[in-house]
Amino acid sequence: MSDLEQFRRETRLWLEANCPPEMRRPMTSEEDTFWGGRNTTFSSEPQRVWFERMRDKGWTVPHWPKEFGGGGLDPEQTKIVRQEMAALGARQPLTSFGISMLGPALLKYGTDAQKKEHLPRIAAGLIRWCQGYSEPNAGSDLASLQTRAESDGDDFIINGQKIWTSYANYADWIFCLVRTDPAAKKHDGISFILFDMASNGVSTKPILLISGRSPFCETFFDDVRVPKANVVGTINRGWDVAKYLLQHERAMISGMGERGVGRPLGQIAADSVGTDEHGRLEDPILRGQIAAFEIDEAALACAAERAVDLAKAGEGHPAFSSAMKYYGTELNKRRYEILMSAGGIDALEWESERSKGGARPRAWLRTKANSIEGGTSEVMLGIVAKRILDLPGA
């Protein structure tokens, strides 16, 4: 048996022995996601047990170095852990922007002190992060951001406003883009800085969305004092860090299209619209839409697997995450259009207990943000045209 086969066997055995049965069921509500953080609570005992076991093994971040609380696994081993977790239906023990976004940027651009301070706390779920990127006048044109950081000795004094800050009202720290040189060209005067959301002068205000929920906030900075040592990368070169992080953010968002909602769509639809004497969906056009969707869903999973393998072989294109982000988010919107269609009038209930407080229509509406957040579909296509296809003037 090769080392990898041996590793797969051990991984499977360990997961089977350690993942509580409750943590192998598809997530059905927002409470099923564990985000970590200072004020965190577990929604159930199995959630706590599963998180702590994975944390102790370093598998909240299996691919990070052990010294930062990771599992120290190589890419092949990491892939095996993911595959075996998927095979078991195991939930992510910890969901965190620290893992999916800030971590990779710190590993690449952070100082040793920054890595030592932040990475282990991310891995252990102690600190919950939010992302201060968009502003009211800097959406798709992110580099036109105006939040200012003015030098004051060893500190910066930060003033301005962010918007669409996911879960800022629950976050402990923020990674934030600020303008440190207003005279420079727009991409050249930006810095990437970290600070505590408990600092004086930080306030947040949730934004009510069409789903009736408020996953995003407006975030205000009023003379917030932050040490210059908290800048990641070089001062005024924050755009490099920002772009690198965006690649990871886009990869994370594209993953939403890959992730099944538990039961296959065909079965969900069969339960609600019924089947004919051959077991086929009563609505033949819906059946065709589901089949076409499942083909594209399987295709996206193949492409994601291949993107990882290409990157490993040094043949990946850094902008390919934009392609995946575009496709994955459009696909996820399609999934929920089908779910709404399959659910018929049942999927229209907004408040009843029967509908778990309108879980499906609220999730459906939430997906409409997928192709906006982290860069719109149109911006993604522009990036592909410019950076991969090298089309002129793009």
Partner: protein, 379 residues
């Protein structure tokens, strides 16, 4: 297994690409078409294919082949697709070779496989009967006659059937149309009495045939595999063919895409390259993404055929469905973005459009495979 080509597979791709783009670029197909060539492909080039080991790629070593897998066959098919090379590679080296090596008796293998490997034997599968690919609907009648059988019925879309020296024919020995049980595959000599072969030049200037079987007598030794149990063998062989054609379509799509993006850079209107217009940039980007995603599904299907043959059906359905829709999109965008030039016969783009249409139809179109997938998943 990593979802990328291995070093050996990349080398095979380079050598196939070198040979095919040199000896059989699109102009080669155009010449054959314009000359109304009776064969429709170059026998000389087929000889070179055999010498380079391509024709026996799926043939076991003991019969003179190189015993490679579906991924390797797909690698060659993709280069064929890029250049629209007409050749018996699909009919003979992929389909017939797979049918014989998977279902053949020792005697059948040693009689036919060496000829496939050395390029001397061309062979075709005769499956389709109706206007759409529905292998389980096979109705061709078989009656037992003495020690053997008599075949009666018509076959259509027999790829390269006009040049075949051996036909592999699907017929119904039991059961009713629609059932998997009761299908049997027969090895039939196309020169046998009662066979009428009509070459059908197709829209893509490649070849197929309509073949009539008027009570054709075959002996008991000509059964490939087991009587009544040919359905599983046929389905497996068709899946290999589907993976191969999906690869060809990736080649078609990518070549059209490359030519189209070049045109977007060069063609100027309103004082700038048309590739500067966002309407075209976004469509080009979408097409690129579709092609990359489809490429991943096709490689996945081919790898699964090699590693886990019995469980490859879903991956193959996904790949063939995706390849069909992606190639269709690519050739349509290709013609549209080339404007009036795309509509001319002088320009090559139309050849790709025609080939994509034929490949889409071959062994089940995107709708067929979507339906297959839905059945597999039970809805």
């Amino acid at each position: 297994m990593a979802l990328v080509l291995t070093e050996e597979q990349s080398m095979l791709r380079d050598s196939a690409r070198g040979l095919i783009s040199d000896k059989a670029p699109v102009s080669h197909l155009r010449q054959l078409r314009d000359a109304k060539d009776a064969t429709g492909f170059s026998r000389e080039l087929w000889k070179t294919f055999a010498e380079m080991g391509f024709s026996g790629l799926l043939v076991p070593e003991e019969f003179g082949g190189s015993d490679l897998g579906c991924v390797e066959a797909g690698v060659v098919m993709e280069e064929i697709g890029r250049n629209l090379m007409p050749s018996p590679f699909l009919s003979t080296s992929v389909l017939a070779a797979s049918a014989l090596s998977r279902g053949g008796s020792a005697a059948q293998k040693s009689e036919h496989l060496p000829g496939i490997a050395d390029g001397s034997l061309l062979a075709s599968l005769a499956i389709d009967e109706g206007t759409k690919h529905r292998p389980l609907m096979t109705r061709m009648q078989v009656v037992r006659s003495g020690n053997g059988f008599r075949l009666a019925g018509d076959k259509a879309f027999v790829i390269d059937g006009h040049t075949a020296g051996l036909l592999i024919v699907a017929a119904r020995t039991a059961g009713a149309a629609g059932e998997r049980d009761g299908l049997t595959l027969f090895l039939v000599d196309p020169k046998a009495k009662g066979i009428d072969v009509e070459r059908t030049a197709m829209v893509d200037s490649h070849n197929a045939a309509r073949i009539k079987f008027d009570n054709v007598e075959v002996n008991a030794d000509s059964v490939l595999g087991d009587v009544d149990q040919g359905g599983v063998l046929l389905e497996g062989v068709l899946n290999i063919g589907r993976g191969a054609v999906a690869s060809e379509m990736v080649g078609v799509a990518e070549e059209v895409f490359g030519r189209t993006v070049n045109y977007l850079r060069e063609r100027r209107q309103f004082g700038k390259a048309i590739g500067e217009f966002q309407a075209l940039q976004h469509r080009a980007a979408q097409l690129y993404i579709e092609i990359e995603i489809t490429r991943a599904t096709v490689l996945k299907a081919l790898q699964t055929l090699d590693a886990n043959f019995e469980h490859a059906a879903a991956a193959v359905a996904v790949a063939k469905a995706r390849a069909g829709s992606t190639a269709t999109l690519a050739v349509q965008e290709g013609v549209q973005m080339h404007g009036g030039m795309g509509m001319t016969d002088q320009f090559d783009i139309g050849f790709f459009m025609k080939r994509a249409r034929v490949c889409q139809e071959m062994f089940g179109d995107s709708n067929f495979h979507a339906d297959q997938l839905a059945r597999m998943k039970g809805y």
